[in-house]
């Protein structure tokens, strides 16, 4: 077996998995806290990419240095996506919080379609070229045949985001409030936690990671369109389910497993069946572990 080819596929899968993880985190956090599959989450990611494109084009035209463009476009995308995530929760999910879960799910699908078509009308239905924001670092040149600078950037950013998120959830006040709310909303509110605020915060944090993922992948692939959130959203959702939805380490693990599956199968068998392999793998995992790799099976109280 060619070891270098294997390494390439391994790292390619890792990169892919990182992107899935950034989106899957939003799915799993929202599910963990209000047991809703937020189907509009892929669209948040798409909106992040569009905002990134618009702002980075403007800034590049103004002649800003590359680093400033990355940081400012990233910040703008995060802020914009967060405000969308916050608003979606307030208008589409909050009024349905005590309704049957199916209603909220349909509301989520509606929100997803609405946002896709909104961007289609407000922007364009064409593929837009996305500038490669990450330059080829000179010091990385010797290794760039294995993994490019852009991919390295994706890996590093994902790693930093994960560490920050872990710290946020484990050690901060809002993190504790999130864990408490996801376990028992009534008890949390009886201890003085403003549950509405915590849910909003969850949407904001999830949207921020999705926006980061949106910019990174757009700059890596080089083009975006209004439909990009759909398939990425489905894949990230698969990753979250694979790892055990509601569990944050599960979402990350599921994303990497999915990334590697796709990478190795397309590398060694055929690239035509990329999605097929991903979904076959999901089916197999769910047959043997219905609640996902790290998910805990829940006894239903009757």
């Amino acid at each position: 077996m060619d070891f270098e080819y294997f390494t390439q596929l391994f790292l390619g899968g890792l990169t892919r998995g990182s992107i899935y993880a950034l989106i899957a985190l939003g799915y799993t956090m929202v599910y963990g806290i209000i047991e809703l599959i937020n189907f509009a989450h892929g669209e948040i990611y798409m909106i992040g990419a569009f905002t990134g494109l618009i702002i980075s084009s403007v800034l590049t035209m103004m002649g800003m240095p590359t680093l400033a463009v990355i940081v400012l476009a990233g910040m703008a995308a995060i802020i914009y996506s967060c405000s969308y995530g916050y608003t979606i929760e307030k208008i589409a999910y909050k009024p349905l919080r005590n309704a049957p879960r199916l209603s909220a799910l349909i509301s989520a699908i509606g929100m997803s379609l609405f946002l896709q078509n909104y961007v289609l009308l407000a922007q364009t239905s064409d593929f837009l070229p996305f500038p490669s924001l990450v330059p080829n670092f000179a010091f990385w040149e010797p290794y760039s045949h294995i993994i490019s600078s852009a991919e390295l950037m994706i890996l590093l950013t994902t790693l930093i985001v994960m560490i920050l998120l872990t710290l946020l959830i484990k050690f901060t006040k809002i993190g504790k409030a999130m864990r408490a709310t996801s376990q028992d909303k009534v008890m949390a509110s009886l201890l003085g936690i403003n549950v509405d605020q915590v849910i909003s915060a969850t949407f904001v944090v999830g949207s921020a990671t999705a926006a980061i993922g949106g910019i990174l992948i757009a700059s890596h692939i080089g083009q975006i369109n209004f439909y990009m959130g759909f398939i990425a959203g489905i894949k990230a959702f698969v990753a979250a389910v694979l790892g055990g939805i509601g569990s944050i380490p599960g979402a990350v693990l599921g994303s990497f497993v999915l990334g590697w599956t796709e990478s190795f199968f397309t590398g060694y068998i055929s690239s035509d069946y990329e999605d097929v392999f991903a979904f076959i793998f999901l089916v197999v995992i769910l047959i043997f572990r219905p609640s996902g790799i790290l998910g805990r099976s829940q006894a239903q109280k009757v």
Binding site: L168, T172, K173, I174, G175, K176, A177, R179, A180, Q183, D184, V186, M187, A188, S189, L190, L191, G192, I193, N194, V195, Q197, A201
Partner: protein, 261 residues
């Protein structure tokens, strides 16, 4: 003496079912009051109405912290908690995957100020506050006698300790009134005796008033200064333990009616 909690004419309907039927109740500062009655009498619903989980159909709930009158009807549970009411549940509702210390720290959130921004950027004020919370939580755990479990996961505690942890967590919100829903449920006699001491200690040392739902009559009679009896949502009696013990209406509610020939 002036009351600190006053419930006037409170009624709670669920569709056609009247779970609570114009009940009055008042508690004075530092008093231990018990709410008793057969299963399904509406005791827990009563707690849910006071703590903001339900909004009562009619009637008023007033509290008098520092002598000022405030109406609780329709306030959300987190606001009611901030105003100084804390409660525990019949079934244990700890945050099982958190440590004992974290469980108590969550309770302290009600009285801290640092918001989301503070949590993310972690300024000096946030850090100082965090330290204060940890110190306070340790203090409460020591008082309740759980200091040896501090870093244990809540789920790994013995049953009696879990019940005490619920009380510790409720105390962390700095209440002036503690509502305990069957705190002795499932406890062995030894644990019940320790609970009896703990409740007295909380009242005597902190001056916190206590409203208690309990089926263990020995505990109720030894602790309470005043007892309210409800049945089918209606208040059927109130008085001192002595009066309640000899009240024929209460005996009838608990034991059923004798058939007179």
């Amino acid at each position: 003496m002036k009351p600190i909690l006053e419930v006037q004419n409170m009624t709670m309907d669920f569709g056609g079912l009247r779970a609570i039927d114009s009940v009055d109740l008042s508690i004075e500062k530092g008093q231990i009051v018990a709410l008793i009655g057969p299963n399904g009498a509406g005791k827990t619903t009563f707690f849910n109405c006071i703590t903001g989980i339900y909004t009562p159909t009619s009637g008023d709930i007033y509290i008098y912290p520092r002598g000022k009158e405030e109406r609780l009807n329709g306030l959300k549970p987190n606001i009611v908690t901030k105003k100084g009411l804390a409660r525990t549940f019949q079934n244990i509702r700890l945050f099982t995957s958190m440590t004992v210390l974290e469980n108590v720290m969550i309770g302290c959130h009600a009285i801290t100020k640092a918001g989301i921004m503070g949590a993310i950027f972690r300024g000096a004020a946030t850090k100082a506050e965090e330290r204060l919370i940890v110190k306070k939580s340790y203090g409460i755990l020591e008082k309740i006698g759980l200091e040896k479990y501090v870093d244990e996961l809540a789920i790994n505690l013995p049953y009696g300790a879990q019940r005490r942890l619920e009380i510790a967590r409720a105390l962390a919100t700095d209440p002036f009134l503690l509502l305990l829903d069957e705190p002795a449920a499932g406890m062995n006699p030894q644990e019940t005796m320790e609970l009896d001491e703990l409740i007295l200690k909380i009242r005597n040392r902190e001056g916190i008033s206590i409203l208690l739902i309990e089926h263990d009559m020995k505990l109720v009679m030894s602790l309470s200064e005043k007892i309210y009896v409800v049945d089918y949502g209606k208040k059927i009696a109130e008085g001192t333990p002595e009066e309640i013990r000899n009240n024929p209406v209460v005996i009838k509610a608990y034991l059923g009616e004798e058939i007179d020939e």
